[in-house]
């Protein structure tokens, strides 16, 4: 059995994030035995690197990584540190998504983004949870009513228009407006 201990005059530099080692000790390669000298040099440095890697903290994972069978197995993996030596990027750092007109306004006014509180709403009449919008959505209730309530504030002046079609037209109008705003934002941020 041989020893795994290697000593160097100048300490070697490890970059364990890249699994690399740099040795700056003077190198002597004899012309007759270049390959054996190189082997000895490389073996020593790989030994140093492996000794360092074996000291890395271990992490046990349950899920299978890169295994073809579907069985789960516990794996013990080395957790690597961040790379030490930087290499140039392949592509520039991605730019942040441009802010929309509303986002700018909200930031100025200090308006916080609110999370949506779900897609379903409880219907008191049928005692069921129904979607707020979409197929059989709660916002389509007025479309199918046999009797439409007269709106005092916004009276339907044109008698020829079916009042049941009005909410749908309104929704269509909102979609149109939103698309227009999207286009405007895209143009401004281009």
């Amino acid at each position: 059995m041989k020893t795994p201990i290697v000593e160097k005059a100048i300490p070697t530099v490890f970059d364990l994030g890249n699994l690399a080692i740099a040795d700056s000790n003077p190198i002597v390669l004899n012309a007759d035995s270049i390959e054996t000298d190189l082997y000895a040099l490389n073996r020593d440095n790989v030994q140093l690197l492996v000794n360092q890697i074996l000291q890395l903290p271990l992490k046990r994972t349950v899920d299978s990584i890169n295994s073809s069978n579907s069985q789960n197995s516990t794996m013990t993996l080395f957790s690597l540190p961040e790379p030490l030596w930087q290499t140039p990027r392949e592509k520039p750092v991605p730019k942040d998504k441009a802010k929309t007109r509303w986002e700018l306004f909200a930031a100025k006014k200090g308006i916080q983004k609110r999370a949506k509180d779900g897609k379903l709403v409880f219907d008191e009449e049928t005692k069921k949870w129904i979607p707020k919008w979409g197929y059989n959505g709660a916002n389509k209730k007025a479309d199918k009513q046999w009797l439409v309530e007269y709106d005092d504030k916004n009276p339907n002046t044109d008698e020829t228009i079916d009042p049941r079609t009005l909410p749908r037209a309104q929704r269509k109008q909102l979609v149109k407006k939103s698309l227009h705003q999207q286009k405007k934002n895209a143009k401004a941020n281009a």
């Binding site: 059995m1 041989k2 020893t3 795994p4 201990i5 300490p11 530099v13 490890f14 364990l16 994030g17 890249n18 699994l19 690399a20 080692i21 740099a22 040795d23 700056s24 000790n25 003077p26 190198i27 390669l29 270049i34 190189l38 082997y39 040099l41 490389n42 073996r43 440095n45 790989v46 030994q47 690197l49 492996v50 000794n51 360092q52 890697i53 074996l54 890395l56 992490k59 994972t61 990584i65 890169n66 794996m75 013990t76 993996l77 080395f78 957790s79 690597l80 540190p81 790379p83 030490l84 030596w85 930087q86 290499t87 140039p88 990027r89 392949e90 592509k91 520039p92 750092v93 991605p94």
Partner: protein, 337 residues
């Protein structure tokens, strides 16, 4: 530049997203291009180098009319078309025999280039050895002080590191440690120290690949490492070099704001050990354990509030006066002490 159309379906959108710039990048892909003067020798070498780089590689079968140092436009085109940021071009001429030009691209534009002349080589097939599994992360060894000193060799170190390191990963399977790529540059001859840079003979770059083997050793839990050379074995001489444009270099080494970590007081020393400075808070001297003796017990404390207050007042006065004096004349400060 290639025309980039707006994706019309989800599949083409995914394909475009895959190529888009990312905060944490994928491993760089390499493209091997035989130049119009490429020969069988260079072709075989490129096959071997591709074997080390697989699966992140593309190799062209046909020769292409390319002179990288004269016109890089077709390299840029190939880079964008194949989404590869490393390109190896093989050319051969009387003046520069058996050259492999290693190019790096940034944003599909030429970043830097170095020409390495193959002096001698032995292929994988000539070793007749069992090799490693495809797609394993190699161990990298750089031997020689030149890699820290000489700018050309620094470039070569950065290039080979970039070429073989693959994708950055935080976890490593011990069984994936299979092969080692070593790059050695001898120290220059001391006789050459007085010569100019141009007259100096540049040290050869010795590229070796080994399979890693471990044996039980004299120390428990520390295996003895043995290597087995599997090839390719290549000796390169350094040829022409093109360094990156400073603007582009700055862009390429930018760290994304999202990854930048504000890790304070943590540093790595030259041994690769992590050192940290921690704040231990203010020490409470009242709690300090001094010499233990009967007379110092708390129950023997003399509590004389009046006296204590008086003492306090005197102290404050002294300090106030001292401050004033110090403002007027620094020297007189000592008188009050």
């Amino acid at each position: 530049m290639l025309r980039t159309a707006k994706p019309k379906n989800a599949r083409s959108k995914r394909a475009l997203d895959k190529r888009a710039s990312k905060i944490i990048e994928n491993g760089k892909r390499a493209l091997f291009v035989p130049g119009s003067t490429c020969n069988k020798f260079l072709h075989d070498l490129m096959v071997d180098l591709e074997a080390l780089k697989k699966p992140d590689s593309v190799r062209f079968q046909r020769k292409n009319e390319i002179r990288p140092f004269e016109d890089s436009s077709s390299l840029e085109f190939f880079s964008e078309k194949n989404d590869t940021s490393l390109i190896v071009v093989g050319t051969h001429s009387k003046k520069r025999p058996n050259c492999l030009t290693f190019c790096r691209m940034f944003n599909y534009q030429l970043f830097d280039m170095i020409e390495l002349k193959v002096v001698s080589a032995k292929l994988i097939q000539d070793f007749h050895k069992r090799t490693f599994d495809v797609g394993m992360k190699p161990l990298l060894v750089f031997n020689g002080a030149l890699f820290d000193e000489d700018p050309v060799y620094k470039h070569i170190k950065s290039l080979f590191l970039d070429f073989f390191r693959g994708q950055e990963q935080s976890l490593l399977d011990p069984s994936a440690l299979q092969h080692v790529i070593t790059i050695t540059a001898e120290d220059p001859d001391p006789k050459q120290k007085n010569l100019d840079d141009e007259n100096k003979a540049k040290s050869l770059i010795r590229f070796r690949c080994y399979l890693l083997k471990t044996e039980t050793s004299t120390t428990p839990k520390q295996p003895r490492v043995e290597l087995d050379e599997i090839g390719p074995r290549i000796d390169f001489a350094v040829g022409r070099e093109q360094i990156p444009n400073p603007d582009m270099e700055k862009q390429a080494y930018k760290v994304a704001r999202q990854v930048e970590k504000t890790k304070k007081n943590v540093e790595m020393d030259f041994m690769g050990d992590k050192l940290g400075r921690i704040h231990v808070g203010k020490q409470d001297l009242n709690e300090l354990q001094t010499r233990k003796m009967k007379g110092l017990k708390r129950k023997y404390d003399v509590i004389d509030e009046e006296k204590a207050e008086q003492q306090d007042d005197v102290e404050y006065d002294e300090i106030d006066e001292a401050d004033e004096a110090y403002e007027l004349d620094g020297d007189s400060f000592t008188e009050f002490e």
